[in-house]
C-alpha cells in the first residue's frame, strides 16, 4: 500500500513539474537576484566580528578580540551609542504615537467629504510633501523656523512675543522633528487607508442607517472595523522599524545644540564608521539594530495573531 502511495505521489510531482516547469525557470532569475545581491553581500556581516581593513578580503581579516565580540562590547561601553539607541527609540516611538494615528484620522475625515472634487484636491495637496527630500525640507524648516530669521519667529516678534526655539532647543526640536514627519508622510499614508475604506461593503452602511445609526456610530461600528486588518498590518510593519532610523531626516535637521536628542543610530554609524573609519564597530551596531528589529517584528506579529488578527505572514 505504502509503495503505491509514494509512487502515486511521485508521479503527481513529476506531472506537476512537467506542466509548470516554465514558471519555475522564470522564478530562477529573481532567486538569482536575491542570492547575488541580497544574500552574498550579507557575508560581510562578518566585519562585525573581525578587525576591518579597507584592503583585505573579508576572509583575510583577523578575528576581533573577545571571541569576535570586541566591537559589540565596545559599542555598549560607548555612551554615544547608548544615547543613539535611546534617541532612536524615543523618536520612533513618538513618530508611531503621533504619526501612526494621524493618517487614519485624516482618511476618516476625507471619507466623510461629500464633494469628490474637493476631496481629490485635498488629497493631492497633502501627499505632495512626500516627494520632497529631507534635505529640501530641512532647508525650508530653516526658512520657516530659524530663531532669528524664520518667518514664524519674525511674525511672533512683530506681534510682541518671544521667538520659539523650534530648532535650537532640544525639546522643541523633537516636536518639530515629529511634526515635520507627520506633515511629510500624512497624505501618502492616507492613500492606503482610503483604499481600504473603498473596500467596505456599502450594504453595511445602509443596514446601519436602517438601524438608526448616526454618523459617529457608523464610523465607530462600520468603518473602523472595516479597516482594522489594514491598521494592524501597518502597525506590525511599523513596530518592525522601531530601532531602525532614517539617516537623512535627523542628519539634515540636526545641529550642535540638539545633538543630545538628534544623534540616532544611523548618524552614529555615519560619524564613527564612515567618517571615523571604524567599520567593524558600526557593522556590529547595524547588526544589533537589525536583530532587534526582527525580534520586534516577530513579537508584534505573534501578538496580532494571538488576538485573532491575520498578521503579516
Amino acid at each position: 500500500m505504502a509503495t503505491v502511495l509514494t509512487t502515486g505521489r511521485a508521479r503527481k510531482a513529476i506531472n506537476y513539474i512537467r506542466s509548470y516547469w516554465t514558471l519555475y525557470v522564470m522564478l530562477a532569475l529573481p532567486i538569482a537576484f536575491f542570492v547575488i545581491f541580497r544574500y552574498i553581500p550579507m557575508s560581510y556581516i562578518l566585519i562585525a566580528f573581525k578587525k576591518y581593513s579597507l584592503f583585505q578580503s573579508i576572509w583575510e581579516m583577523p578575528w576581533a578580540d573577545n571571541y569576535g565580540f570586541e566591537y559589540f562590547i565596545r559599542a555598549f561601553q560607548n555612551r554615544d551609542f547608548i544615547n543613539a539607541v535611546r534617541n532612536t527609540l524615543m523618536l520612533n516611538a513618538l513618530d508611531l504615537l503621533v504619526g501612526f494615528p494621524a493618517p487614519i484620522i485624516f482618511a476618516l475625515l476625507l471619507n466623510e467629504l461629500v464633494y469628490p472634487r474637493y476631496k481629490r484636491f485635498v488629497q493631492t495637496v497633502t501627499y505632495m510633501p512626500y516627494f520632497l527630500s529631507w534635505i529640501i525640507i530641512a532647508g525650508m524648516a530653516m526658512q520657516v523656523f530659524a530663531p532669528n530669521t524664520g518667518v514664524v519667529n519674525v511674525f511672533l516678534r512683530r506681534m510682541g512675543y518671544q521667538p520659539i526655539p523650534f530648532l535650537n532647543d532640544p525639546t522643541w526640536w523633537v516636536v518639530t522633528y515629529v511634526l515635520l514627519g507627520v506633515w511629510k508622510h500624512l497624505g501618502w499614508n492616507t492613500i492606503i487607508y482610503l483604499a481600504a475604506l473603498t473596500g467596505i461593503n456599502p450594504e453595511l452602511y445602509e443596514a446601519a442607517e436602517i438601524d438608526g445609526a448616526n454618523r459617529w456610530q457608523k464610523i465607530r461600528y462600520v468603518t473602523l472595523p472595516g479597516i482594522r486588518p489594514t491598521i494592524i498590518t501597518l502597525l506590525i510593519l511599523n513596530l518592525g522599524q522601531i530601532l531602525s532610523s532614517d539617516f537623512d531626516r535627523p542628519y539634515a535637521l540636526m545641529n550642535p545644540l540638539v545633538y543630545d536628542v538628534s544623534n540616532v543610530i544611523a548618524t552614529y554609524v555615519y560619524t564613527y564608521g564612515i567618517r571615523g573609519l571604524q567599520f567593524s564597530l558600526t557593522t556590529a551596531v547595524g547588526l544589533f539594530q537589525s536583530v532587534v528589529c526582527v525580534i520586534f517584528l516577530f513579537a508584534a506579529n505573534a501578538l496580532a495573531k494571538k488576538y485573532g488578527e491575520r498578521g503579516v505572514w
Binding site: 584592503f55 535650537n168 545644540l257
Partner: protein
C-alpha cells in the same frame, strides 16, 4: 633513484632561492625601472597617474578637473616626463568620506591629499598607504625641485623615529598666515570709537554696535544687527579671543601633548574664553542662529555682505578673498564705498602679548595609496609642480589674462573668465606642495600679495598681512611616531568639541560650568584623555621630561 632525489633537492633549492631572493630584494630596495632615464628624467613608455583635486563647488567657477590650468599641467608632465595626468575631483567639504569610499573601492587617486594626518595614519595601519621612505631615498637625485622647495624638514616631517617610515610628505606653508579679527571700520568712525586694543574696548565696541543698531542700519534693518558673528566652527571663529586666555607660560611640551586638536581646544584657559562668548551671547552680541547652519552655508557670508555684521574672526584675508565675489566688494556694492572690514588686534594675553598660535610651516599632507602603481611617476609629478617656474605659473596664471606685471615688478591679478578662472586662491588646489604665493623674490612677492585682491584697497591687505602673525608662536616638530589612541578619533572628537562649544555658548550663565565640565569630561572619556596620555608618554620617552 638517487638522481631523482638529487633533482628534487635541486629544484627545491632553486625555488627557495627564488622566493627568498625576491622577498629580500623587495625589502632592501625598490627595483630599478629600466624604462626610466635618470638623466632626461623621462619614461620611455607613457605612464598614467591620477591626481586628487579639491572640488569647491564655486559658483561660476571652472570645472576643477578640466580647465586651462589642468591643461598646463597635463601638457607639461607629458612633455617633461612622459606621464599622462588625469585629475579626480573630490568634494572639498566631504573629502575624508569620499577618499574613504574610494580607497575601499580600490579607486583612490594615485596622488592623494588631505589636511588630516591621523586619517592617513589610519589608512597606513590598514596597509593602505605606500611607505615613501625607500622611494625618496632612491630617487632623491631625480627630484631636485621637490627637495629645493620642501627640504628634508617637510619631506621627512612625518618620519617614524623607530621604523623610519614616511607615510606622507608635508606641503610647505609659505605664508604662515592663519586668522584675523575684523571689525567694520566705517562703524567705528560713525560712532567715534577708537580701534579696540583690549578685550574691554572690544566688548564696549560690540555693545555700542548693538545699542546703535538703528543709527547704523536704519530702523527697518535694526533688528538684523549682529555685533559679532560666529559659526558652528567656534574654535576657528573665535580663535584670537580664546587664545588670549591661554597663559603665556604654556610650554612647548604642553603645546605638543595638548596639540591633538588643531583648534587648541585642550589648551589651558580655553574654558574662560568660552565663558566670555557665553556672556556675549546672553548680552545679545552674538549671532543667535550661529549653530544652525552647516559648514559651507552662505548665510553668514551674505549677512556680512549685507552689512549687518559688526565684527568677526576668520581666515586672515577672509573678507578680501575671491575677487568680485568677496565680502569686501559685496559690502561696498550694497552699503557704500566707505563700508569695509579692517583687521584689528584687540586681544592681549596675561602677559600683554598679542599672541597667535600658528602651526609649523606645514600644510596639506600628500600620500600615495597602496593602489598607486606608479610611485616614481607620482613623485615626478610632485617634483614638477614644485619647480618654481611651474608653480609660479599655476599661482598667477597667464600674463594679460590672469595677471599683469606692474612697472615695479609686482604682479597684479586680473579677473579671469571661463577656463582661466582659478577655483582657489593662487590655485592652491593644484600646487599641492606649497600654500602661499611665492614668486621667487620675497620683496616682489610681498608687494604682489597686497595687489592680489582685485577691488580691495592695498592698505587693508597690508595691515591684515602684518597683524595676522604679529607676536606669533609656532608649533615645533616632535617626532614621536604614531599615536595609536588618535586612530579613527578625529571626526568623533571634532564633532564633540563643536557640539560642546555651541552648547556652552548658549547655556544659561548659571549652568555654564555644569555644561562645560560635563561635556569636557565626556570629550576626555571618549578618547581625548587616552590621546593626551599617549602623547605625554611618547614625548617623555624620546625627549625626556
Amino acid at each position: 633513484m638517487r638522481r631523482g632525489w638529487l633533482g628534487l633537492l635541486l629544484a627545491l633549492l632553486v625555488a627557495a632561492v627564488l622566493v627568498f631572493g625576491s622577498v629580500a630584494t623587495s625589502l632592501a630596495a625598490i627595483p630599478d625601472d629600466p624604462d626610466f632615464d635618470p638623466v632626461t628624467r623621462r619614461f620611455g613608455r607613457t605612464r598614467s597617474i591620477t591626481v586628487e583635486v579639491y572640488d569647491r563647488g564655486n559658483p561660476g567657477g571652472s570645472p576643477p578637473e578640466d580647465n586651462a590650468f589642468t591643461d598646463f599641467i597635463k601638457e607639461g608632465m607629458l612633455r617633461d616626463h612622459n606621464v599622462r595626468v588625469t585629475f579626480v575631483p573630490i568634494p572639498r567639504w566631504t573629502e575624508v568620506e569620499v577618499i574613504n569610499a574610494r580607497l575601499a573601492a580600490g579607486d583612490a587617486p594615485d596622488v592623494a591629499v588631505t589636511y588630516s594626518y591621523p586619517t592617513i595614519q589610519t589608512y597606513a595601519n590598514m596597509g593602505g598607504v605606500i611607505d615613501l621612505a625607500p622611494y625618496l631615498e632612491k630617487y632623491k637625485d631625480v627630484l631636485p625641485n621637490l627637495w629645493e622647495l620642501l627640504g628634508d624638514t617637510n619631506i621627512y616631517w612625518n618620519r617614524d623615529p623607530n621604523t623610519g617610515r614616511v607615510w606622507a610628505i608635508e606641503a610647505l606653508l609659505f605664508q604662515n598666515k592663519r586668522i584675523n579679527t575684523f571689525v567694520r571700520e566705517d562703524w567705528l568712525k560713525k560712532l567715534g570709537l577708537p580701534e579696540p586694543r583690549t578685550l574691554e574696548e572690544f566688548e564696549n565696541m560690540l555693545r555700542a554696535f548693538r545699542d546703535n543698531a538703528e543709527l547704523l542700519l536704519g530702523p527697518e534693518m535694526a533688528h538684523e544687527m549682529i555685533p559679532f558673528s560666529i559659526s558652528q566652527d567656534v574654535g576657528w571663529r573665535a580663535d584670537h579671543l580664546l587664545m588670549s586666555f591661554v597663559p603665556e607660560s604654556l610650554t612647548d611640551k604642553e603645546m605638543f601633548i595638548y596639540g591633538f586638536d588643531d583648534r587648541h581646544f585642550l589648551f589651558p584657559g580655553y574654558k574662560e574664553g568660552v565663558r566670555k562668548l557665553n556672556q556675549w551671547y546672553h548680552e545679545g552680541l552674538i549671532w543667535p542662529d550661529f549653530a544652525l547652519y552647516p559648514p559651507g552655508d552662505q548665510t553668514e557670508d551674505n549677512n556680512m555682505k549685507k552689512g549687518v555684521v559688526g565684527a568677526f574672526i576668520h581666515n586672515w584675508d577672509y573678507p578680501y578673498r575671491n575677487g568680485e565675489d568677496s565680502i569686501h566688494v559685496g559690502l561696498q556694492r550694497l552699503v557704500g564705498p566707505e563700508a569695509a572690514f579692517i583687521a584689528v588686534e584687540p586681544f592681549p594675553n596675561d602677559a600683554g602679548i598679542y599672541r597667535k598660535f600658528l602651526s609649523a610651516p606645514i600644510d596639506r599632507k600628500v600620500f600615495f595609496p597602496i593602489t598607486n602603481r606608479e610611485p616614481l611617476a607620482s613623485l615626478l609629478y610632485l617634483d614638477w609642480i614644485s619647480k618654481l617656474e611651474n608653480r609660479r605659473h599655476l599661482q598667477i596664471g597667464w600674463e594679460g589674462i590672469n595677471h599683469q606685471v606692474l612697472p615695479d615688478g609686482a604682479v597684479q591679478l586680473l579677473q579671469a573668465t571661463g577656463r582661466y578662472i582659478m577655483n582657489s586662491p593662487q590655485n592652491i588646489d593644484y600646487t599641492l606642495t606649497i600654500n602661499g604665493l611665492d614668486l621667487g623674490d620675497p620683496e616682489i612677492t610681498a608687494k604682489s600679495i597686497a595687489l592680489n585682491y582685485p577691488g580691495v584697497d592695498a592698505r587693508y591687505i597690508e595691515r591684515a598681512y602684518r597683524i595676522t602673525d604679529n607676536e606669533a608662536r609656532y608649533g615645533k616638530n616632535f617626532q614621536v611616531g604614531e599615536i595609536k589612541a588618535e586612530e579613527g578619533m578625529q571626526t568623533v572628537l571634532t564633532q564633540k568639541r563643536d557640539n560642546l562649544l555651541a552648547r556652552a555658548i548658549v547655556a544659561p550663565p548659571d549652568q555654564f560650568d555644569r555644561v562645560w565640565d560635563e561635556g569636557f569630561a565626556d570629550y576626555l572619556r571618549s578618547g581625548g584623555q587616552a590621546i593626551i596620555n599617549e602623547r605625554l608618554q611618547k614625548y617623555e620617552a624620546i625627549y625626556g621630561e
